[in-house]
C-alpha cells in the first residue's frame, strides 16, 4: 500500500512537472504572447516597455523564468497575475476551490443517484418500453451541450419566467457562500447542479445498464441463482456490485477532472467564480501565472482521483482484493 502511494506521488510530481513545462512553452511559443507590452499599457514608450520587461523578469532565459515562476508558485507562494496585477494566484485558486467543490459535489450526488436509478431500472427491465424510454432520455441528456442547457435554464429561470411563481425564488446568478447563508447557497446552486448532472446521469445510466446486462450473464450469477437466491438479491447484491467497477472508475476520473476545473462551462454560464471560471478567464487573457496555477492544480486532482479509484476497487471488487 505504501509503495503504491509513493509511486503514485512520484507519478503525480512527474505529470505536474510535465504539464507545467508544456503550458509554459506553449505560452512562449504563441506568436504575440509576450505580455510586456500588455502589462506596460497602450501607447507605452520604449523605456517603459524595457523597464516592465525587466521588472517581470521577462528578459531572462526561459529556464530561469520557469524556475523563478515555480519558486514563486510553490515556495514563496507570492506569484501574481500578469493581468490583474497584485492578484496572488495561489490564494485566488484556493478561494475558488469551495465554489467548484460545492458545484461538483452537489452535482455528483445527483448524478450518482440518477445514474444508479436509471441504470438499475433499465438493466432490470431490459428490452421493455421502460428501458427504451430511459435509454432515449439518457441519450438526449448525453447529447445536450452543457453550456446550451445552462443558457436555456437561465433563459427560463432568470428571464422569461423569472417573475412567475415557478421561478421567483431563483436568486441572481452567482455564488452565495454556505457559511453565509446555507439556504441561499442551496438555491443558487440547485439549477447548476441539475445542469451539470444531466450529462452524467445519462452517461452513467447507460454504462451501468450495459455493465449489469453483461454481468447478469456471468457464471457466478448463474451459481447464485442456482443456490436459490431471490432475483432481487441477485441483481442488487451480486450483479450491481460487480457492475459498479466501471461506474466507480468513471466517477473517479470525472469527479477529479471536474473538481480540477472541468466544470468550466457550467461555472461560466452561471457566473460561479470557481476554478474552471478562473482557468477560462486566464486562458482568454493569456495570464500565464494563473494558467500555470490552475493547470497544475487540475493535474493534481486528476492524478489523485486515479489513485482513489484504484484504492476503491479493492473494496468493491472481490477479485481485485483477493489478488493481493
Amino acid at each position: 500500500m505504501l509503495t503504491a502511494l509513493l509511486s503514485r506521488l512520484g507519478q503525480m510530481v512527474l505529470v505536474m512537472f510535465g504539464i507545467s513545462v508544456v503550458a509554459f512553452l506553449i505560452f512562449f511559443a504563441t506568436p504575440g504572447a509576450d505580455p510586456s507590452a500588455r502589462i506596460a499599457g497602450r501607447n507605452a514608450s520604449q523605456e517603459t516597455l524595457v523597464q516592465v520587461r525587466h521588472d517581470f523578469g521577462l528578459d531572462r532565459p526561459l529556464p530561469v523564468q520557469y524556475a523563478l515562476m515555480m519558486e514563486r508558485l510553490f515556495i514563496s507562494r507570492d506569484l501574481t497575475s500578469f493581468v490583474n496585477r497584485g492578484q496572488r494566484v495561489v490564494p485566488t485558486v484556493l478561494e475558488a476551490i469551495p465554489i467548484t467543490l460545492s458545484l461538483v459535489l452537489g452535482a455528483a450526488v445527483l448524478w450518482l443517484l440518477g445514474g444508479l436509478i436509471v441504470g438499475v431500472i433499465a438493466g432490470a427491465t431490459r428490452g421493455t418500453w421502460l428501458d427504451r424510454t430511459l435509454m432515449i432520455l439518457s441519450l438526449i441528456g448525453v447529447s445536450i451541450p452543457v453550456f446550451w442547457l445552462g443558457e436555456v435554464a437561465n433563459l427560463v429561470t432568470q428571464s422569461r419566467w423569472h417573475d412567475s411563481w415557478l421561478f421567483s425564488w431563483v436568486p441572481p446568478l452567482g455564488y452565495i457562500p454556505f457559511t453565509e447563508d446555507p439556504w441561499g447557497w442551496f438555491k443558487a446552486l440547485v439549477i447548476p447542479w441539475f445542469t451539470l448532472a444531466t450529462l452524467y446521469i445519462g452517461l452513467y445510466g447507460r454504462v451501468l445498464r450495459a455493465s449489469i446486462i453483461e454481468t447478469m450473464q456471468e457464471d457466478f450469477i448463474r451459481t447464485a441463482r442456482a443456490k436459490g437466491i431471490g432475483e432481487r438479491r441477485v441483481l442488487m447484491h451480486h450483479g450491481l456490485r460487480t457492475s459498479l467497477v466501471a461506474f466507480v472508475t468513471m466517477f473517479g476520473l470525472d469527479f477529479g477532472a471536474l473538481v480540477g476545473g472541468g466544470a468550466l462551462l457550467t461555472e461560466v454560464v452561471f457566473g460561479l467564480q470557481g476554478v474552471g471560471k478562473l482557468t477560462y478567464g486566464a486562458l482568454q487573457t493569456l495570464d500565464l501565472p494563473m494558467i500555470l496555477a490552475t493547470v497544475i492544480y487540475a493535474s493534481f486532482f486528476v492524478v489523485m482521483a486515479n489513485f482513489i479509484v484504484d484504492v476503491a476497487f479493492v473494496f468493491i471488487d472481490p477479485r481485485v482484493r483477493d489478488a493481493h
Binding site: 506568436p31 507590452a37 497602450r42 523597464q51 490583474n84 496585477r85 497584485g86 485566488t92 428571464s159 457566473g271
Partner: protein, 557 residues
C-alpha cells in the same frame, strides 16, 4: 486608448429598432436626488490593477474619475462642456507662463485624503515622481515633456523631476516647468494617470491594494475574481461641483464574472443597475422594444479603422491604400456593427464632436463632407496603375464576431480589387500588440482607437507621427508605420500654433487631419456609439463625453 473590450459581440444585421426615437436619459436639472442606497454594477471581468497611476482601461478610468482628483480635471457634466478642463485640487486654472512652458498651481486648502491625512504640495511632487518610479504606461508619451522627465525615464528609481515639478509649501503652490510648450498639458494632467496620491503611496504597482484618494468614494475592498466595493470617503467635502461633485449612493458594488447575456438579464430583472460591457447583439431587439426606456445611446469620440502597413507591399503604394479607401462600402460595415443606430460611417481620422473636426471625406463616390457610396471604378483604376493586383494579402482581425465579420467583408473588397486575400483572426487580447510589431509583418488589420483626452494630437500625433513608430517593438502604436516628415512638421507647427493662437492652431490641426486622411495610412471605417442599459430604479444617468457615465451623479429609488 483602447477600451478593454470593444462591442465585441455585435453582429450582422441586428439593429436597435426602437432606439433611434429615444432621447438620451438625462435627469432634469431641477430634479432632487435621493441620497443613499447601493449601486450595483456588472462587468465580465475585472480590469487589472487598481493603481490609478498604472491602470489604463476605460473600465477603471471611469471609476478613478470619482475616486481620485488631479490638480485639474474634466468638468463632470453630460454635455459637450464635459471636454473642458476645470480646476480641481488647484484653486483655479493657471495661465500658461513663459510662453507656455510654465504653469503655477495653487492648492485648495482643507482637502483630505480618504485616510484622513491632509493634501499638501509634497503629495503633488511625490505623485508625479511616483508615476515615473513605477513606470506608468503614459510617462514616456504624455508626461515626457516635464523638465527632468528624461532622467526619470532612464533611471526611474532615482526620479526627482528636479526643476520640473517644484513645490513651495509656504505659498501652497506647485510649479510645473516644461521643456517645450505643450498646449495639451492641462488635459494630459486631467486624466487619472496624474491623480494626486498621498506621499506614502507605495513605490510599486499597488495591484489589488487600494490607495487613498480625495474623491467622494474610496475602495473598501477589491477581489478581481468577484467584487470591487466602493464606499463613501468619510473625509470628503464638496469643494467644486463642476470638478468633483458629491455622490448620491452610499455604496457602489462592481461585480465581476457574469457573461454579457447574464448581465443583460440581471439588469432587466433589476438585480443590477448597469453593465459595463456592451449588450450582445441578440438582445438588442428586445432592448429596443421592451426595455427602450432603460437604454441610452451616445456617440463616442473613437474610430474603428483598418491600418495598412505603409512599409510592406502592396500597401507601401499610396494608390493601393487610397483604392482600398475608395472601394470600402462603409454602410455595409456599419450594418455589420449593428446598424446606423450604433455607428456612423466615417473616412477621416478625427471623430465628430472633436476639437478641430471638420467633416471631410475624399474617398466617396461624391467626394466632399460626407461619405455617400463607394467608388469602385476609381479604386480599380488606382490598382491597375499600381500594378500590384495578384499579390497575396493577409488581414489580421480580432477573434470577436464583429471584427471577424468586418475582416471577411474586407477580404471580399480586396479580392474584388484583384488580390489573393486571407483572413486570420487572433485572440483580442493579443491582436493589438501583435499588429504593432513589424516583426510580425502584418499587412492590414482591424483595430480601434478611443480618445484619452480631447485634443487632435491624441489621434493624429499619437497614431501617425514618426515618433510613435518603433520597428520591432510590441509598443508601436503607429500601426501603419506611417512616417511623413512634412506632415510631422505640420503637426509640430499646429501644436505650437495652439499656444500662440488656439483658434489658428485648431485650423492647422484640421489641415493635418485632411493631410493624413489623404495619405491614407489607414482606412477609417466608422465612428461607434455606446449603448448603456440601466435598471428602472436608476435615475439621473449623466453621460460625460470624456469618461462616459458619471456614476456618482446617479441615484437609486
Amino acid at each position: 486608448m483602447r477600451s478593454r473590450k470593444v462591442f465585441s459581440a455585435m453582429m450582422a444585421g441586428v439593429g436597435l429598432a426602437g432606439l433611434m426615437l429615444m432621447a438620451p436619459i438625462t435627469g432634469a436639472a431641477a430634479q432632487e436626488g435621493k441620497v443613499g442606497g447601493t449601486l450595483k454594477l456588472l462587468a465580465n471581468a475585472a480590469a487589472g490593477t487598481i493603481d490609478p497611476h498604472i491602470n489604463y482601461t476605460l473600465q477603471y478610468f471611469q471609476i478613478n474619475y470619482i475616486l481620485y482628483d488631479g490638480l485639474v480635471t474634466f468638468r463632470k457634466t453630460g454635455d459637450k462642456t464635459g471636454f473642458e478642463v476645470v480646476a480641481d485640487l488647484a484653486e483655479s486654472l493657471p495661465k500658461p507662463e513663459d510662453g507656455g512652458k510654465k504653469y503655477v498651481f495653487k492648492l485648495r486648502k482643507g482637502i483630505k485624503f480618504a485616510d484622513g491625512s491632509d493634501l499638501t504640495t509634497a503629495d503633488v511632487v511625490a505623485s508625479f515622481q511616483r508615476m515615473f518610479k513605477i513606470s506608468g504606461p503614459t510617462t514616456g508619451t504624455l508626461y515626457n515633456g516635464i523638465v527632468g522627465a528624461d532622467k526619470c525615464l532612464k533611471t526611474p528609481a532615482t526620479c526627482t523631476l528636479e526643476g520640473g515639478v517644484v513645490a513651495d509649501e509656504a505659498a501652497s503652490t506647485v510649479t510645473f516647468n516644461l521643456v517645450t510648450p505643450d498646449p495639451d498639458f492641462l488635459q494630459k494632467i486631467s486624466i487619472p494617470h496624474a491623480a494626486i496620491l498621498p506621499t506614502q503611496a507605495p513605490l510599486k504597482d499597488s495591484g489589488t491594494v487600494p490607495i487613498p484618494g480625495t474623491g467622494p468614494y474610496m475602495i473598501a475592498s477589491y477581489d478581481p475574481n468577484s467584487l470591487l466595493k466602493m464606499v463613501r470617503n468619510p473625509h470628503f467635502k464638496e469643494w467644486s461641483k463642476e470638478a468633483q461633485p458629491a455622490g448620491y449612493p452610499d455604496e457602489i458594488d462592481y461585480g465581476f464574472g457574469l457573461t454579457d447575456e447574464a448581465a443583460v438579464t440581471a439588469v432587466e430583472n433589476g438585480q443590477a443597475d448597469w453593465m459595463f460591457d456592451p449588450p450582445p447583439a441578440d438582445r438588442l431587439a428586445e432592448l429596443g422594444t421592451k426595455y427602450a426606456k432603460q437604454v441610452s445611446v451616445h456617440p463616442l469620440t473613437a474610430m474603428w479603422y483598418a491600418p495598412m502597413n505603409t512599409n510592406l507591399a502592396p500597401f507601401n503604394d499610396i494608390r493601393v491604400r487610397q483604392a482600398v479607401n475608395y472601394a470600402i462600402d462603409r454602410a455595409a460595415i456599419v450594418k455589420l456593427f449593428g446598424g446606423s443606430n450604433l455607428a456612423q460611417p466615417s473616412c477621416q481620422i478625427l471623430p465628430p464632436n472633436f476639437p478641430s473636426y471638420a467633416p471631410y471625406c475624399p474617398f466617396s463616390a461624391n467626394p466632399g463632407e460626407k461619405w455617400s457610396a463607394p467608388d469602385l471604378e476609381k479604386a480599380k483604376a488606382l490598382i491597375a496603375a499600381s500594378g500590384t493586383a495578384g499579390q497575396e494579402v493577409t488581414i489580421i482581425t480580432e477573434d470577436t464576431e464583429v471584427s471577424k465579420s468586418i475582416g471577411v467583408y474586407l477580404q471580399d473588397v480586396l479580392n474584388g480589387l484583384g488580390y489573393k486575400t486571407s483572413v486570420k483572426p487572433i485572440s483580442q487580447n493579443i491582436q493589438f500588440t501583435y499588429i504593432q510589431n513589424t516583426n510580425n509583418k502584418v499587412q492590414i488589420s482591424i483595430s480601434q482607437w478611443f480618445q484619452d483626452y480631447p485634443a487632435p494630437s491624441d489621434f493624429l500625433q499619437v497614431l501617425f507621427s514618426c515618433a510613435s513608430f518603433t520597428p520591432g517593438s510590441d509598443a508601436s502604436v503607429n500601426i501603419s508605420g506611417f512616417c511623413d516628415k512634412s506632415i510631422d512638421q505640420k503637426m509640430s507647427e499646429a501644436q505650437t500654433g495652439m499656444i500662440a493662437d488656439p483658434a489658428k492652431g485648431a485650423q492647422l490641426w484640421t489641415a493635418v487631419d485632411k493631410a493624413v486622411t489623404d495619405a491614407a495610412p489607414v482606412a477609417v471605417l466608422f465612428t461607434p456609439k455606446r449603448v448603456d442599459l440601466i435598471s428602472p430604479r436608476l435615475k439621473n444617468f449623466v453621460f460625460s463625453p470624456q469618461f462616459y457615465w458619471i456614476m456618482s451623479q446617479s441615484w437609486v429609488e
